[in-house]
């Protein structure tokens, strides 16, 4: 863990809503987290839980006009990005905060040489001349481990393999030495062997540059390997916020427990993998109470009535579940009493 100083990123009560003909969808609905220098924060959750929308919100790249940040603040070194004018925001993008996207095959412009795609950002943010920017771009390609980078820089994306394209994306994201790197499923589209290499590259560069990393993934293996703290998201909410160690050793939220239980175990010989029953609620029609209650094995009346707050369970763990409230046991007693009354 990094030493406690002023955090480089502080997200408070972030809400991103989409207004469409079908109604209002709330993919991000009140998110809080803090990222310190040199630290890696993992955001995990299944597809549609709002993790990618959270990262796009930080860069203010949500598809408009249907989507917009409906509330909260994103403090980058104390400066609220939500309130920044667009021209100022452009100076932050790619320079202070940059992003690696999950689809290396489609995230690079097919008709522009990759070297130019990297050099473009360097020229823009670092005021370098054409030649110097090109040289820096070649150097970045070398840094991410692309062989004969001078030749590769002149090539177009279709001449590169998927792994190489993802390296180009990383080189592009890191070209201006950002303070925060958001990696949105950086390894999802890649082979397992390439995955390990890419994660290694990100880790090494993080050490060299001292940047904060937000690692968005649905792969718990990636979390175990790279993250200091982890945020588990479910239907637009954070359901558990804890350290990476604690997450695996002692998962608190029933959803997190379910996620970990559904991981296949190498020593077990089972016919079917375990799953969490049910499906994620529609972001257009979220339940009034806890969003996981319909799938939760421990669900009680209160769960479907009120959405719990994040209860602080220990110093570094917060859980959004009524089980960790003081009332849980009382309520259990009350329910038992009710049952007994009915029986008698």
């Amino acid at each position: 863990m990094a030493e406690k100083e002023i955090p480089i990123l502080e997200v408070k009560g972030l809400k991103t809503y989409f207004t469409t003909k079908k109604g209002t969808s709330k993919p991000v609905d009140g998110i809080d987290f803090v990222l310190n220098k040199g630290e890696t924060l993992g955001i995990v959750g299944e597809s549609g839980c709002g993790k990618s929308m959270t990262s796009l919100s930080i860069l203010r790249l949500i598809p408009s006009p249907s989507g917009k940040i409906a509330g909260g603040s994103i403090l980058f070194k104390g400066k609220d990005l939500v309130k920044l004018p667009e021209s100022e925001m452009r100076k932050v993008r790619g320079n202070d905060i940059s992003m690696i996207f999950q689809e290396p095959m489609t995230s690079l412009n097919p008709v522009i040489p990759v070297g130019e795609q990297i050099a473009e950002a360097i020229r823009l943010h670092q005021n370098l001349g054409k030649k110097a920017a090109w040289e820096k771009s070649v150097e970045m390609l070398r840094l991410v481990g692309i062989p004969s980078p001078e030749k590769r820089a002149k090539q177009e994306p279709f001449q590169l393999s998927g792994g190489m394209r993802q390296r180009v994306m990383i080189a592009m994201a890191l070209a201006c030495s950002p303070e925060i790197l958001i990696a949105d499923e950086p390894t999802t589209a890649l082979d397992v062997t390439i995955q390990a290499q890419i994660l290694e590259i990100i880790k090494n560069l993080q050490k060299q540059l001292g940047m904060g990393v937000i690692m968005i993934t649905h792969d718990l293996g990636v979390v175990a390997e790279t993250c200091d703290q982890v945020v588990v998201m479910y239907a637009g909410n954070i359901v558990e916020h804890t350290s990476s160690k604690e997450l695996f050793a002692n998962p608190k939220h029933p959803y997190t427990q379910g996620l970990l239980a559904s991981l296949p175990n190498i020593t077990e010989d089972v016919e079917e993998l375990r799953t969490i029953e049910g499906t994620i609620p529609s972001p257009y029609n979220l339940p009034k109470g806890c969003r996981f209650s319909s799938r939760c094995p421990h669900s009680k009346d209160i769960c479907s009535e009120r959405n719990p707050e994040l209860f602080e369970v220990s110093d570094d763990t917060k859980v959004r579940c009524w089980i960790y409230s003081d009332n849980w046991n009382n309520q259990s007693k009350r329910e038992e009493e009710c049952l007994n009354e009915k029986h008698s």
Binding site: L59, L61, R90, K91, V92, R93, G94, N95, S98, M99, F101, E103, T106, S107, L108, N109, P110, V111, I112, E120, A121, L124, H125, E156, F158, M169, M172
Partner: protein
């Protein structure tokens, strides 16, 4: 790239042979005997027969076709039945006029069309988009002969700022070029809009935004180059339609170009002249398509003929 052009050039040979074949045999379907027309009314049977013999019209069609091809290779497009002048001479006089008109018209098609398409695509479903697309719909729907006459009436007769007809000064080119180019511009505008909208939704545009690049650079550098590929195809096809349109527009504005030459020749049943005119127009279309393919390749290196 040189190899690409060479290979593509090679591929045009069968197309050109096909074109001569079609042009030649279509002319055979035209009613009326050239020998009768040439001999004039009231000519004797013997005169007509002699003319037939002289023109080689008694030969089987396939022999006539080969004769036609061999003369073409020698640069002989035949002799006009009316003026008795070589067809090629007449074409060479008319062709530059039509090419000039076509060139200015296609520029209008490209620039007006692309500009309108981009303006519409930047703010989809906004008032500016709906407005531009409504004008484009109007542009597609207006028949060129009507548009030509209206422009002529308004600018030449009413306002008297542009010449009515003819081909004497650069001012003369304005109205016919607009008449000819507007329909294509409307089609190009619609194509550019839909192509731009598709490209703007792509992941790599989001990547460009994430780099902090200005929206104008994103539109012109990142989006337009990708969006242009289908637009180039449409421009190529439009050029064909435009050549066809010269026939009408040259007649309306009394321009002595290739189009009008063909119309006059058809009216007078001057078959060698029609044949020559149609052949040259077809060759121009083939060349334009060749250029389209080369442009394709310039914009997108993934395109390979292999």
């Amino acid at each position: 790239m040189a190899m690409f052009i060479f290979r593509r050039l090679f591929q045009t040979i069968p197309v050109i042979i096909g074109v001569t074949f079609v042009v030649f045999f279509i002319m055979q379907l035209v009613p009326g005997d050239p020998a009768v027309i040439l001999a004039g009314e009231g000519a004797s049977k013997e005169t007509i027969e002699a003319l037939r013999e002289q023109l080689g019209l008694n030969q089987p069609l396939i022999i006539q076709y080969f004769d036609y091809i061999t003369s073409l290779l020698k640069g002989d497009f035949g002799t006009s039945l009316k003026s008795s002048q070589p067809v090629l001479d007449e074409i060479l006089v008319r062709l530059p006029i039509t090419m000039e008109l076509a060139f200015v018209s296609i520029l209008i098609t490209i620039f007006l069309g692309m500009a309108a398409g981009i303006i519409a695509a930047i703010k989809p479903y906004s008032l500016q988009d709906i407005g531009v697309m409504l004008i484009a719909l109007l542009g597609i729907s207006l028949p060129s002969f009507w548009l030509g006459l209206m422009l002529m009436y308004f600018f030449s007769v009413k306002l008297q700022i542009l010449p009515v007809a003819g081909w004497d000064s650069p001012l003369h080119i304005i109205l016919p070029a607009i008449t000819l180019g507007v329909g294509g511009a409307a089609i190009v505008a619609r194509m550019t809009r839909s192509s731009m909208l598709e490209v703007i939704g792509q992941d790599y545009i989001r990547t460009a935004r994430a780099k902090g690049i200005k929206e104008t650079i994103i539109i012109f550098k990142h989006a337009l180059r990708n969006a242009l590929i289908p637009v180039i195809t449409v421009v190529g096809l439009q050029f064909g339609a435009l050549l066809g349109g010269t026939v009408l527009v040259e007649s309306i504005f009394a321009i002595n170009g290739l189009g009008r030459m063909i119309v006059d020749a058809i009216r007078m049943r001057d078959l060698p002249m029609v044949q020559g005119g149609v052949l040259v127009a077809s060759l121009i279309f083939v060349i334009v398509n060749l250029l389209v393919d080369i442009f394709y390749r310039l914009f997108n290196k993934r395109i390979d003929l292999n």
